[in-house]
Homo-oligomer: 346 residues x 4
């Protein structure tokens, strides 16, 4: 953290930084690529593996495990685009002198030099390349981190004792908790969750670097010396840890099936609701009927379908065949091919 003076010409420093961050972006992009490949592979593998979809942590309607991963793949595509744009933003150098006026060199020399380095010339610089470029860069890294965090939180949820639908890779010889030999903890995902917080902090610091004084002050430099390596190394590490985690993720379709059935058919309540409306019941009335039976499932431990079949208001409108149809999971998942087609083109 030695203070920097004018001992090395700022043109060289800023252009070097552009090269370093551009090349770091290439590593990050490779990491995103690996992570997305792993996610796509497992998505295709589990395209038709049913799992309960949850909103608010509460069982909602069925989806498939592959569908969850498909959303990740799409989000990683957006991550890639953001980093590609941030890479383009950062890949600008300068050779315009002490205040950006080309007082002792011509713009053409700058352009030629930048071409030779694979950079663009900052169209108009001061003593430095403008720092909104760097702030965009570190913000883009933080956004990728936030996506990884989202995926990690999902895995942590799926590995909960009560859920147990998936588990992080766990080597044969590997010990679990030192104190509690029965435990297998999602420590890789927890680690990723924490690292995402670091990236957010770095982005905050980088955004404060934009408003420098006049043609430059060097306050940004102590920030960049730390977050330049720290943010890129952290995200690179995260992407590969995440990719390895996805590649080796243990998926338990049977357990997913058990959880789907744990609420005794309640997950089809919307289907029943819509069916009742379709047959002419007012939405408000249908809602009351469905909720009344749903609460009995909780309170009395009975099957939802059985309760509905016995409900006089339901019987008036729905046949047993209608109820069968409403409780048909394959019907609910019939658009999975269309979804994969949209995102993966297949």
């Amino acid at each position: 953290m030695r203070a920097e003076g004018g001992n090395v010409h700022s043109d060289v420093l800023d252009t070097s930084l552009a090269i370093l961050l551009r090349d770091a972006a290439d590593l990050i992009l490779a990491g995103i690529g690996r992570a997305r490949d792993a996610v796509v592979k497992r998505a295709v593998e589990h395209k038709r593996t049913p799992i309960i979809g949850r909103s608010h942590g509460i069982h909602a309607e069925p989806t498939t495990f592959g569908w969850k991963l498909l959303a990740w793949a799409d989000e990683l595509s957006r991550a890639r685009e953001r980093v590609e744009r941030a890479r383009a933003a950062i890949a600008h150098g300068k050779l315009s002198g002490a205040v950006g006026t080309f007082a002792h060199l011509s713009p053409r020399i700058e352009e030629a030099a930048m071409v030779s380095l694979g950079l663009s010339a900052e169209p108009v610089s001061t003593q430095i390349v403008q720092r909104d470029r760097h702030a965009e860069y570190f913000s883009a890294l933080a956004l990728v981190g936030a996506s990884i965090e989202k995926f990690a939180v999902e895995i942590r949820h799926l590995q909960r004792t009560e859920v147990r639908e998936a588990e992080e890779p766990f080597g044969k010889g590997q010990k679990g908790s030192s104190a509690m030999p029965h435990k297998r903890n999602p420590i890789l995902s927890e680690n990723l969750s924490g690292l995402a917080r670091l990236l957010r902090g770095y982005a905050v610091s980088a955004m404060e670097d934009v408003a420098l004084w006049h043609e430059r002050d060097i306050s940004h430099s102590s920030v960049e010396r730390v977050i330049g390596p720290d943010a890129t190394v952290t995200l690179d590490f995260m992407l590969h840890r995440f990719a390895g985690l996805v590649e080796g993720l243990r998926v338990y379709p049977e357990r997913m099936r058990e959880n789907l059935e744990a609420t005794r058919g309640l997950i089809f309540s919307q289907s029943v609701l819509l069916k009742l409306i379709e047959r002419g019941m007012e939405r408000q009335a249908a809602y009351v009927v469905v909720q009344r039976n749903a609460m009995k499932v909780w309170d009395e431990g009975k099957e939802f379908r059985t309760l509905l079949a016995d409900d006089p208001d339901v019987k008036k409108l729905l046949t047993p065949q209608d109820l069968d149809a409403a409780f048909e999971m394959d019907h609910q998942l019939r658009h999975v091919d269309a979804a994969f087609e949209r995102v993966l083109g297949r």
Copy 2:
């Protein structure tokens, strides 16, 4: 967001702000008091209600639901101390003139005026009261928010479909999800989780307000006009929403008991481990023995105690009475009184 000029004397503005934030702190403190009272009441009520303790989202060892709440009560005591200190820090006014030199009034008049307003005089001011005081204040609010968020996240976890150990208050006539009539969502806790994020953002803005130019620049003012009301109103709202939530929280001890038993005795694995070590087995060897049986519980669905009773290495060292003792939950929870004594003095 009208720009402020020198139209109103900064002495008056800054002293008014001190009064406003001090009085807001009193409301916050009242909210913390109500929240802590609610938490303590439920803690005492559920002092001996067993619940599985979880680390990494994985079942670990038993604790009690009251014990969880006891930790919240203690954290709220720390929250109260922080806000009390922040209140003291912020309750400083000034009447020292344009650059803090008392050019046209004497320090004694300032002191008398501050006494009459229930404030302290800023020992040495510039045109303004120094902004590290305000940054401490908004950081303290963000820290309280982070604690509320922690409690909210716990409730959200407990209300998960697979866990269902507690639920937010849910009025009789209240509808759940509009689309899925069976759902009861922890929306109050989710709301609290989000609001905590706002408070963190406000704290960041406040910290940037410290480094003003010379004897003052007015850049802090546009920030304070927004976060002054927004942060205090948000936290006040959070505290009362949280208090009401705790007061009305539905607790399901039977479900807690079911979850305790869901891992077929695995939660006593550390007790068994320690018992084996106590009887002379090497820690490393004991660990292997216990983990071997623990894995069979997962894989074969048998009871942990049964498996251990059949394991030759265990049988050599532990009698059935020893195993009984290791699987004794009351023994594990024997220090609950001491814990309550520590925090509540009772």
Copy 3:
């Protein structure tokens, strides 16, 4: 801050939010357009108005006031691109149902509905549009804010009593400081500096909204209800305040000229250095010669050119004509047309 439940279908809510933020982005883009127009106009007006370039707050070499503004115009072009991309990112709605599986509607209906609303369909949604889109949006706003802050800090510096090269518009009847009638304070720019801090805080909150639970939890909603309006209104206000400020900015070329001359020729020290090197002196030796004379300017208050003309080491290599050339400001600014050509195409 009323808690949100499932009373309104999340498809409608999320799609409405997409429309609101997309339309807000259009207003922001209009504000950027107005601001950039104002900046370009003043840049062209002051293309050849010399002003000292400063690094570290210290006089460096001459630039022009228009050149400073040209850098702002280019930065605002980048701001526009970022907001355009963020607008595209956010303009995604959904009609895919409770967990994104189109259980009760087909993807085609979603696509048709989105087209009719001028939105794109989220390629793969859960209960909601994914929140990395929103985080990108609010980060983009914070980045624009950071650029405005940079411009505001420049104006505040230029209006300093000791610099006085420019002043914010100041109406005839307008009073300055209430206590000190002689003062004209850069309160609009200071206000902008503070507002940028708010936007950074909002971006932090938005980034924390990405990692929701499973197919959604609603914790993001309380954040968005606050920062949605607050961030967009704040930035919209900032852009128009900034544009008005630039349009009416009072520029004092004579004062700029005085400041250029205040260091008695020192700003040409690099030219002299390079000229000595050109004539065969070692860089290190040349540096010593130039610095020796530069220090005398500070210590003895003499003109740099006079001191150099009397220095035996200089005399050996440079003729009076050489010195004249080194002290020629027009030469230093000879590339201003090329710079404008690069950025404005003229």
Copy 4:
């Protein structure tokens, strides 16, 4: 960034962290002490060195350079108190086992162990010491950093070419800018400004660590492994760099005097205003009279006192002796002893 499992017992890890951060706090406190000593020494030295007080970057009324430093000393006292409290908050260890229930050890053993380590026992822990303590700690560091940043920004302003009232220590053999031999840049202060941004980012990350899952998840650990050393080392470095900077700061009282006189008496405008009001003129009318003459000082380059002496409205109420009194700087600074007495007790 190796992932942490339960391989090492969390009691040991958390207690070790308490020791590390407590001891780091002692180093920070020593740094604050050194910095405050340096500031107090220079404050006393320059107690009566007049300098213009500036608000909004505009000359306001006179103060003394020592008075500026006195405010820093007081702020550093607050910094010390915050770090002392944060030290107390963090100096809590635990030996309460896997979920904080003392299942295998008694609370008394914990208490004895903590006493022997110079720590307190966390009154009620889960698997870990609660993270609001750590968040308070890192927030306190960020607040100290923000204060250092404020001081650094002041020095940067004072060293500006146009102000030149103080300069960072500058060694004899030291070179300035590599390109511009005449420059002496405030690079130490700029460095400090940047480092403060890092500390804010770290505080954001730490605040996100509070809301862990149930009795603990380990996501906080990857954050703390980075910010634990990084934040403490950064602030320690800042404090000593700042102390050295203050110890060696070059102060230019003559230049301060020149700047005081640069506005030709305008800094006494409030004195004149109050004198006119004292003699019976309406405030509004007096304001108009004073501003009218103040504007002439700017526009015509005349002395304020001369203009006032010629103004018929002034002449009616004020004698030349009255004007002399209004322009008396010593009178304006008469309370400097009282201010030092308040803060330093002398």
